[in-house]
């Protein structure tokens, strides 16, 4: 659609605003994988409540927003369960090994001119593009 980029900018602005609130308010970097991962592997025990409150906001506000918008809320996720499980495992493992994902390395890292954040972002975009190129256009699997 022609208006997609406008919604991209608006939504992106809200994402950045969320990161700004988390940074200026709590002094913390808004990284989705770090906030969730620290909760799951026990490394974030000192601020468990803060992590749960953040995740509650991430899950509940879109749930409410869906009710008030006419736009269809669909993820269009592949129905192939094997692909879903493998992808989930890779995303969980990879983001914790690399210590960040699209929000932490991408948004928060690049915005503070972090060399590591920029390199990580370039690597995961290239790895994602290569995976799609091979599995979709060479092997026609996804």
């Amino acid at each position: 659609m022609e208006t997609d980029w406008i919604w991209g900018l608006i939504g992106g602005g809200l994402i950045g605003l969320g990161g700004a609130v988390f940074l200026l308010g709590n002094g913390r970097i808004m990284g989705a994988s770090g906030i969730l991962g620290g909760l799951l592997d026990g490394s974030g025990r000192s601020n468990t409540a803060e992590r749960i409150a953040f995740i509650a906001g991430v899950v509940l506000i879109p749930m409410i927003a869906v009710v008030f918008t006419s736009a269809e809320a669909q993820t269009h996720l592949t129905p192939n369960l094997a692909v879903i499980v493998i992808a989930g495992l890779l995303v969980g493992l990879g983001t914790r090994i690399a210590n960040g994902c699209t929000s932490g390395h991408g948004v928060c890292g690049i915005s503070r001119l972090s060399w590591r954040g920029l390199i990580a972002t370039i690597i995961y975009i290239l790895a994602g593009a290569a995976t799609l190129a091979v599995l979709r256009h060479v092997w026609s699997l996804i």
Binding site: R116, A129, T131
Partner: protein, 143 residues
């Protein structure tokens, strides 16, 4: 206060992901699919998010967080195996399904069974990570 700010930050993040279309795996895979019908939306989302965030980093200078404490220390600059290997694995999973951790959480209420299965698999991957990291650090120290 700390929890209200956390919830608000998470809410803005989730709302932004929803409105920008980033919980739609077709749009994310569309950005990564350079040999298909390429979709540039993700670049606008990234740009739109980086601008307020860059201003926020500027505002941290000479200040303290609202709730007290201190701001994060400056980022490390050196690249290591962990960053490269982890990012490759993450990118592969991201390309496969079109979901990363933020959108996986934001779409939990409307992503159906597949979304929940992805979330469980991602949680398992996260729990499995610390021993792998330890091994990577160990072999790096020996080399």
């Amino acid at each position: 206060m700390r929890l209200v700010l956390s919830f608000s930050a998470g809410g803005l993040f989730g709302l932004g992901l929803f409105l920008s279309g980033m919980t739609d795996t077709r749009k994310v895979q569309g950005w990564l699919d350079i040999f298909g019908n390429w979709d540039p939306t993700l670049a606008f989302v990234m740009g739109g998010a980086i601008i307020p965030m860059a201003i926020a980093w500027q505002l941290t200078r000479g200040r303290r967080p609202l709730v007290g404490g201190s701001f994060p220390t400056p980022p490390r600059q050196e690249l290591d195996r962990r960053l490269v290997i982890g990012s490759v694995l993450f990118g592969m999973g991201w390309g496969l399904a079109g979901l990363c951790p933020g959108p996986a959480m934001a779409s939990l209420s409307y992503g159906g069974t597949g979304g929940i299965v992805f979330m469980i698999a991602m949680a398992a991957g996260m729990i499995a990570a610390p021993p792998v990291v330890q091994r990577l650090d160990h072999t790096a120290a020996k080399a």
